[in-house]
């Protein structure tokens, strides 16, 4: 499929002074521009198989809705799960799905790193005059990944109309903070998990247990899980900061672990730590990488 895309925008693209960007800001702009160009190229490419694209977009919305249909079916048989009502679960579901979906849209392709190492296409990315991480994240970009965030956003909107929350200033502010930090945390998990493939090429599926598994975990209220598991996603892989902890504050729910209230506002710190860890892992991985010369 790649041969179809002969005019590669990033090759003829950047002007000389952009090739070696001086300031940090210029480097970030350069990376974002590279991402945009590669993503635009893949959007055109996927549109070549139009029927497949629309089917897959519809299927992607249906597939992500399925989890919610299961929730609805569960609530046919009960009024609350672990002490949480359906709209409250809708809030958890919507926020977790929206954060995961946005992260997947922006950097989700990173999980194919192992395949790229195996087939040697990573070498191609490394010699192109554009940041490798930006290319990796945009490679095989497809607009059909909009399905999940759209579906999650509609569930979130529905839950917000059904919930009876006393909207104080901090609660209102926490919602956008939650969405941004949650997306960043999932994005860092995608990239951090992908870097494992520098050392173990085939472990791609392991990442699914963190991303899709993690998102499924935080669809449900923390009260139904074993305390050790909840503690694991607070202090281990900090997925609890995506929506559980801020939601306790927003929805006024008791914390099953009894952590200090400060944790419920700490998502930005958790997100920053995740990005730092992922960045260090990526650098270490790239340094350890040896091409096979293909």
């Amino acid at each position: 499929m790649a041969e179809l895309l002969v005019p590669e925008p990033q090759v003829r693209g950047p002007e000389p002074q952009l090739l070696a960007p001086e300031t940090r800001m210029a480097r970030v702009r350069w990376a974002l521009r590279s991402w945009r160009l590669v993503a635009a190229m893949w959007t055109r490419a996927t549109m070549a198989y139009r029927a497949s694209f629309y089917l897959m977009f519809a299927a992607s919305i249906a597939a992500t809705s399925l989890d919610f249909v299961v929730l609805l079916l569960m609530f046919q048989h009960t009024d609350s799960l672990g002490g949480w009502s359906l709209p409250e679960l809708g809030f958890l579901y919507g926020t977790s799905g929206l954060c995961l979906g946005l992260a997947n849209l922006l950097v989700g392709s990173a999980d194919a790193l192992g395949d790229r190492i195996r087939t040697g296409t990573l070498d191609t990315m490394l010699i192109r005059p554009a940041p490798a991480l930006a290319q990796l994240c945009a490679e095989r970009f497809s607009l059909r990944r909009l399905g999940r965030p759209l579906q999650a956003a509609s569930v979130l909107a529905w839950s917000l109309t059904e919930l009876h929350v006393r909207w104080t200033a901090d609660r209102v502010l926490l919602v956008p903070v939650l969405l941004v930090c949650g997306t960043v945390i999932f994005g860092a998990v995608y990239i951090g998990g992908a870097t494992l493939q520098f050392w173990w090429g085939e472990v791609r599926e392991l990442q699914n247990s963190l991303t899709y598994g993690g998102a499924t975990l935080i669809h449900y209220p923390p009260t139904i899980f074993a305390k050790e598991l909840v503690a694991g996603v607070v202090f281990g892989i900090p997925l609890a900061f995506v929506n559980w902890l801020p939601s306790l504050r927003i929805l006024g729910k008791p914390d099953p672990l009894g952590l200090p209230t400060a944790f419920q506002y700490a998502s930005p710190i958790a997100a920053a730590l995740c990005v730092l860890a992922a960045a260090l892992a990526w650098r270490a991985g790239l340094r350890a990488y040896r091409g096979t010369g293909n």
Partner: protein, 295 residues
């Protein structure tokens, strides 16, 4: 993905006349398919890290879903006729079977899809082996490997971490394994039909994605079919996807005993045969359509 395992020159030379056959010729065909299945088993077993990673993923999902079921059954004990231990067992067994029965699709489908893209599909069609039989054999080999590699560990972890209800009668286990085998064949029948749409659509990914949704839902992978409301439940019980997960697990949980075991197996067999026959018909139509442009 090297091709022929048992298809050396000596086999290939007399394989073409498998059509009108003497007894030892039929024996040869059987040996050929066995060799193909063994090759697939061995091929899948080489990706050790991927197998471990996948098993961990099944186990993680097992934990998450088991807790959600515990919460639901705590709110409604005995829901759908399952007691709490049975409900949790249902989750772990369905996670253990997910890859073996390929509810998500996959297995030979990825290979066939690539062969459509590269045009190698034309070579498959003039091989001296039946196209459908070839892929069925590889899929059975794959399923055998996945049953051991990706089924045992989640079941063991589940049994250690939760109170499961597994049968003690070895006969129940034997019948269960038989139903898993038929489930794989039925699942193959479904996936084969999906892959063959590639002959008309050039790219069967879209259909595959739609089928994944349908299969996950109607196989009872997410929620036992018995919990579906009204008409939806009745419909789900007669669709072919019920043969994949619901019937094998119900037999293992001893919710189907005596005559119900036989009707369950009969249901699976009928669907497996219907789907294989439909695949065969689609294959005939497709081969008439293929034009090989040399090269």
């Amino acid at each position: 993905m090297e091709i022929p395992v048992g298809l050396g020159p000596e086999n290939g030379a007399h394989a073409p006349d498998t059509g009108q056959l003497s007894r030892d010729g039929r024996w040869d065909t059987g040996r050929l398919y066995l060799a193909i299945a063994k090759g697939a088993f061995r091929r899948y077993s080489t990706y050790r890290a991927a197998t471990v990673a996948g098993t961990v993923t099944n186990t993680v999902f097992g934990f998450i879903l088991a807790y959600t079921f515990l919460a639901l059954w705590q709110a409604r004990p005995g829901l759908g006729g399952y007691d709490t231990a049975q409900a949790v067992t249902y989750i772990w067994i369905s996670q253990s079977l997910l890859v073996t029965v390929a509810v998500w699709g996959g297995g030979f489908q990825d290979e066939v899809q690539d062969r459509f893209r590269t045009g190698d599909i034309a070579i498959d069609l003039y091989r001296p082996v039946d196209f459908q039989g070839w892929w069925l054999a590889t899929d059975l080999g794959r399923a055998a490997f996945h049953l051991v590699a990706r089924g045992l560990l989640p079941t063991l972890v589940g049994a250690l971490a939760f109170h499961l209800r597994l049968p003690t009668d070895p006969l129940v286990w034997a019948v269960f394994l038989l139903t898993v085998l038929i489930a794989v064949v039925a699942s193959f029948g479904l996936r084969f039909l999906v892959s063959l749409t590639g002959f008309w659509l050039h790219d069967s990914e879209g259909i595959r994605a739609v089928m994944l949704v349908v299969a996950m839902f109607f196989s009872g992978m997410l929620l036992p079919i018995g919990l579906f409301p009204g008409r939806l439940g009745e419909l789900a019980h007669v669709l072919p996807w019920a043969a994949l997960i619901q019937i094998p697990t119900d037999i293992l949980l001893e919710r189907r005993t005596g005559g119900a075991v036989l009707t369950g197996i009969a249901f699976q067999l009928v669907w497996a045969l219907v789907l294989l026959a439909a695949g065969r018909a689609a294959q005939l139509l497709a081969t008439r359509k293929v034009v090989v442009q040399g090269g």
